[in-house]
Amino acid sequence: MKISKTEVEKLAKLAKLSFSDEELERFTAEFDEIIAFADTINQSIEGGTEQIRSVGARMVSFDDLRPDEVVPSLPNEKILSNVEGYNGFFGLERSKK
């Protein structure tokens, strides 16, 4: 399967990433190779409509969930400690006039 630059750009938009023209060129070539590698799962085992269970799902019994209790959460000043806060909120520059 050959992936086009337009498809890579569309994916980038979904992933909230952007590429310069030079990056896009390189990335499209690499991505083509990566998709060909991912395609190797279609080698021999045919997927059916069988129920998907992940390893995690199997480890946790849904009959045994903990009660939905309110527990103490972190204080605002701690949560805001990694960015410039504004009156207890996350601050951003004004981007609309």
Binding site: L17, S18, F31, I35, T40, I41, I45, G47, G48, V55
Partner: protein, 486 residues
């Protein structure tokens, strides 16, 4: 032979040495070697000395746990309250978490002394640790070679004796492969055996924290301290291991059923293959029963792993938007523009590749063909492992198809690098435990690693088999002599 945790604990408890003296010695070694090795990306010497002082107080009072006063290191994706945790990514540079990961909380309660945070591939995505935004750590066994990855700094720190032990994380081999490349021991516990609360997520159905040490016994001691369920990680299980695994290591392998699957040996470097075969013969000479088994679905393990891990990564890394923490672009015209620019400037190429692959396999029209199919094949791989463990107690395999790569080795491109994870990813897909133990050297003097894989929550047998091998072959292969060779 490097002094192990039990011996150090004995000396600390008898007050032959103090935790402060021991910590100072490690700080001195780090100051001397870290500028070359680059194992640590963030040093916490002040907090280490304070922790050592507290440990000394506790040791003086008596009854302190084994890990009290022992200097150690944490991979840079394990959250430490108030101390930098960046996943070696520009997007998290300067990030100081406001809570401790459960594993760190537990080790702190044991009196652990944290020397610093260790280098790694950005967001644990890589096999060489070269995608770190701080530059690659160097392999202490030969500084022209990589440490492996993604827990490369944790492996290098232990190998060069810049920490007594470290913690790494393993999503597709990130503890075991660097352990193999640096000639140390690395244990990936069963999925669910150790809480991942506070581990910065990559592939949540695969990620697991585990110890990296100089001996199997040390790995068992650290695992004993960090294992257990946690209400803050709903995938963790409070499994009853019965007793301390470190105290049950002395068991011979007589009658132990050891499985050998030919699929693990396809395309392996012949030197590595012959080392593992020698080890299998050693087990056999000592009474183990060798079973030749088949795991046919293993040939699909690599694409299954990359599809599932990247799908989960694309979702997990959606949180880096520049709003709540980490890097934020300097100029933007709208919130959307800010998020896209922040992510594009903050993430490195490998992370972008994996986010893009994850986005692709989850996108409408491709979900069934890739993600759903990968989940179905994952079930098949699980079934195969379950069936094999009806007949075997453990499996023995190489940890990696090759020894350490030279620095800056790019191979034929990203896919060739992905292929080097062939021996380790099936273990994460199946959620079973596995250890990598040193198994001699290749003709270039680079360490070879042997992997011992066990049943879910049967770390005990995995550790016993590894300990037996280490005790029986350790003197011959001599990998514990010296560690760093620089």
């Amino acid at each position: 032979m490097r002094t192990g945790i039990s011996e150090l604990a004995k000396r600390l408890q008898s007050r032959e040495i103090s935790a402060m003296e021991l910590t100072k010695a490690y700080i001195g070694a780090i100051e001397k070697l870290n500028p070359t090795i680059n194992a640590y990306v963030y040093l916490t010497f002040d907090t280490a000395m304070k922790a050592a002082e507290k440990a000394d107080q506790r040791l003086k009072e008596g009854g302190a746990p084994l890990l009290c006063g022992i200097p150690m290191a944490l991979k840079d994706n394990i959250c430490t309250d108030g101390l930098n945790t960046t996943c070696c990514s520009k997007i998290l540079k300067g990030f100081k978490p406001y809570y401790d990961a459960t594993v760190w909380e537990k080790l702190k309660a044991h009196g652990a002394v944290l020397l610093g945070k260790t280098n790694m591939d950005e967001f644990a995505m890589g096999s060489t640790s070269e995608t770190s935004c701080y530059g690659a750590p160097l392999n202490p066994r030969n500084t022209n070679y990589v440490t492996g990855g993604s827990s490369g700094g944790s492996a290098a720190a232990v190998c060069a004796n810049l920490a007594v032990y470290s913690l790494g994380s393993d999503t597709g081999g990130s503890i075991r492969q660097p352990a193999s490349f640096c000639g140390v021991v690395g244990l990936k516990p069963t999925y669910g055996a150790v809480s991942r609360y506070g581990l910065i997520a990559y592939g949540s159905s695969l990620d697991q924290i585990g110890p990296m040490t100089n001996s199997v016994k040390d790995a068992a001691i650290v695992f004993d301290a960090i294992k257990g369920g946690d209400r803050r990680d709903q995938t963790s299980v409070d499994y009853d291991y019965g007793s301390s695994l470190a105290e049950c290591l002395d068991r011979d392998v007589k009658g132990m059923r050891i499985g050998v699957a030919e699929e693990f040996f396809d395309g392996i470097n012949p030197e590595i293959k012959s080392k593992i075969e020698e080890a299998i013969k050693l087990f056999e000479r000592n009474g183990a029963v060798i079973e030749n088994i088949r795991l046919p679905a293993l040939k699909l393990a690599l694409p299954v792993y990359y599809i599932i891990a990247c799908a989960e990564a694309s979702s997990n890394l959606g949180r880096y938007d520049g709003i709540r923490y980490g890097y934020r672009t300097s100029s933007y015209t709208s919130i959307e523009d800010m998020i896209v620019k922040t992510r594009s400037e903050g993430f490195g190429d490998e992370v972008k590749r994996r986010i893009m692959l994850g986005t692709y396999v989850l996108s409408s029209g491709y979900y069934d063909a890739y993600y759903k199919k990968a989940c179905l094949i994952r079930e098949e791989i699980n079934r195969e492992f379950d069936a094999v463990f009806e007949k075997c107690d453990v499996l023995v395999a190489p940890t990696a198809p090759n020894t350490a790569f030279p620095l800056n080795y790019k191979g034929a491109g990203p896919v060739e690098m992905y292929l080097s994870d062939i021996c380790t990813v099936p273990v994460n897909i199946a959620g079973v435990p596995a250890i990598s133990v040193p198994c001699g050297e290749d003709s270039n003097g680079l360490p070879v690693g042997m992997q011992i894989i066990g049943k879910k929550f049967d770390e005990a047998t995995v550790l016993q088999a590894a300990h037996f091998y280490e005790q029986s072959a350790g003197e011959v292969i001599g990998v514990y002599e010296g560690g760093a060779r620089i």
